[in-house]
Amino acid sequence: MTALIFLIFACIAVFCGISLVVQTHPIASALSLIGVMGSLAILYLQLGGEFIAMAQIIVYAGAIMVLFVFVIMLLNAGAETPTFQASTFVKYLGIVLLVAFLGLISFIIQAALPKTEGVVFGGFQGTAADVGRKLFTSYLLPFEVTSVLILIALVGAIVLARKEI
């Protein structure tokens, strides 16, 4: 069952990832990215990251991607016009090369990690309580410092978008 779920959602993630790269219209790419994020959330759940799976859906697929889609709509971004028309041969060659490259990476990872343990659903549960406890003890400083980052993003967006300097 775990393997089946993994295969289904891994295939969806890869398919949507390819779709993000090859679609010409930004809105199609954005929807593909949401597909990747959704299927990754399922995989996080399998790996016992319930908190991070929820954050993935709410923060990533929810907040960040809505921002993207909003900007695409606002700017009325149309389909990309290709700067150069690649011949069919070059296109297929590119696809073959990409697949070969990714296959090589997969082979290296598989060879470097010969005896990794199998993932079973429920083998490890990183509950929200565990995450929270660590976040406010060991990772207190990075957590607090992140607030400065958010403040900068806020100020930065205002500086760039307001009417007059």
Partner: protein, 488 residues
């Protein structure tokens, strides 16, 4: 689980500079609202006070060294050196920015706040002892600088600079993060000392291969940030397009902080696998010097010329890193300090000369500056001579120590090629001097106003810094040598 999760007073003292600058940044934005429009000139004074307080507390924190916040933070000589350096860069860029912003009618509290936050991020980078802290510090510094680069948002060049800086910067961050993820997977930790211990433990060969891959990915990320070849491609466009005082800032501050984490990560965490990464740093150093110097020969725009010069200088520092020794670390620290002063000085002259809308940014526009404003030209000459590496300037001793460290590490060919590169570099710096003193003043020079207070302060402080480092190098070098023992 650590029992003492409530931080002690000593912990707070160790991050006091960051706290001061963050609080000041927020207060300055509030003050602008309370004080109203006509009090704007005080904003730079308040920012200066905040920087000065942060500088004092950074020096004071050195008397209280140690780890803090569950080993997230380390205060040692190395951290103090870079903290003081980036805060000093912040102060100098503040002086020249105030005048520039008035000239462009674009002064606002947000500029000062973002400057303070950016320096905060660099201080965090300097003190970080954890990959995750390094990452967050780097992002704070970078995101603030992206916004500053596009600050005059109606200017096309500013937009373009911000966009390129942002896209390539985020791309580099992704590589850095992927490297962090793999090092976490290999060693089970992101603490630099723990990673070192894990890599020192004799284990399987796979661990070394995986750690080497992680180091390579992180190298890509850092090389982007310090504009080292082959990832220097963004630097010329960004340096040319950004407002002059922002270019001044980002060619010194973020660069020094990025080198600080580069040194700390590669010397401490990846020390046990030196043989894996040294060839990369070696070849990148050589390539960076060659690309920077030869591309600079062909530039007519002075900001672009200084951008390539900045790339070349990153190459010299990479030589010191390739030496992989304590002397090398000390030489890199010394050179980054010297480079900060001479580079800030040169960009301050550009800020002054370019006028509103940055009309005059060509080398030829400087014709006759030596006769129209002898003092400015003399100070500019000091910076250029230091960039060439003439004795009695900081640049000379910086290069001297770097190449000495490289020779001690038996990098003879790298030293020879580096010295040849410095000779090539002399040509394009001397060309500026020739234009300044040997040519008749043109329209650009004749219409030049006297130097304002802010830029004059930047120029004089940088000149004094350059000369002090050149005449009494031992003051800084002794401190750098004492704190270059990164491995704890």
């Amino acid at each position: 689980m650590p029992a003492n999760f409530a931080p002690s007073a000593a912990d707070y003292l160790r991050i006091l500079p960051e706290i001061i600058m963050t609080v000041a940044g927020v207060l300055i934005m509030l003050l602008e609202g309370w004080l109203g429009e006509n009090k704007k000139r005080n904003l730079s004074v308040q920012t200066f006070v905040a920087f000065a307080a942060a500088l004092v507390s950074a020096v004071a924190a050195n008397g209280n060294p140690g780890l803090s916040f569950s080993n997230m933070l380390i205060v040692d000589g190395f951290a103090t050196f870079f903290r003081v350096l980036v805060i000093a860069v912040g102060i100098l860029s503040l002086f020249s920015a105030t005048q520039y912003l008035k000239r462009e009618h674009a002064e606002s509290s947000e500029y000062y706040a973002l400057l303070l936050f950016s320096v905060t991020g660099q201080c965090i980078m300097a003190t970080a002892n954890e990959l995750i802290m390094i990452f967050i510090g780097l992002e704070i510094s970078s995101i603030a600088t992206y916004v500053l680069a596009g600050y005059l948002r109606d200017d096309k060049r500013n937009n373009e600079a911000a966009l390129k800086y942002f896209l390539l910067g985020s791309f580099a961050t992704a590589f850095l993060l992927y490297g962090i993820a793999w090092i976490y997977g290999t060693t089970g930790s992101t603490n630099l000392s723990t990673i070192r211990i894990a890599l020192l433990t004799p284990g399987s060969e796979t661990n070394v291969i995986l750690a080497g891959t992680a180091a390579a990915l992180m190298f890509v990320g850092f090389a982007f940030k310090v504009s080292a070849a082959p990832f220097q491609i963004w630097a010329p466009d960004v340096y040319q397009g950004a407002p002059a005082p922002v270019t001044l800032f980002m060619s010194a501050g973020p660069k020094a902080a990025a080198f600080a984490v580069f040194l700390r990560v590669f010397m401490t965490a990846f020390g046990p696998i030196t043989s894996r990464w040294e060839p990369f740093v070696w070849s990148s150093a050589l390539l960076t010097m060659i690309i920077g110097n030869f591309a600079a020969l062909m530039q007519t725009n002075i900001k672009r010329l200084l951008a390539y010069s900045s790339i070349a200088n990153a190459g010299y520092v990479m030589v010191a890193i390739a030496a992989d020794s304590q002397i090398g670390v000390a030489a890199a620290m010394f050179y980054l300090a010297a480079y900060a002063f001479m580079n800030i000085g040169a960009f301050a002259v550009v800020t002054h000369f370019s006028r509103q809308g940055e009309k005059f940014v060509n080398v030829e526009d400087l014709a006759g500056l030596g006769w129209k404003q002898p003092v400015t030209a003399a100070l500019f000459s000091i910076f250029l001579l230091s960039l060439i590496g003439v004795p009695l300037t900081g640049g000379f001793f910086g290069k001297f120590y770097i190449f000495k460290a490289a020779l001690d590490a038996n990098l003879v060919w790298l030293t020879v090629l580096g010295l040849l590169n410095s000779a090539v570099a002399a040509y394009y710096y001397l060309r500026i001097l020739v234009v300044m003193y040997m040519k008749e003043p043109g329209e650009a020079t004749l219409s030049l106003q006297p130097v304002g207070v802010g830029i004059a302060a930047t120029l004089w402080i940088s000149a004094v810094g350059t000369l002090v480092l050149g005449i009494f190098p031992s003051v800084v070098l002794n401190f750098a040598t004492a704190s270059s023992a990164l491995v704890k």
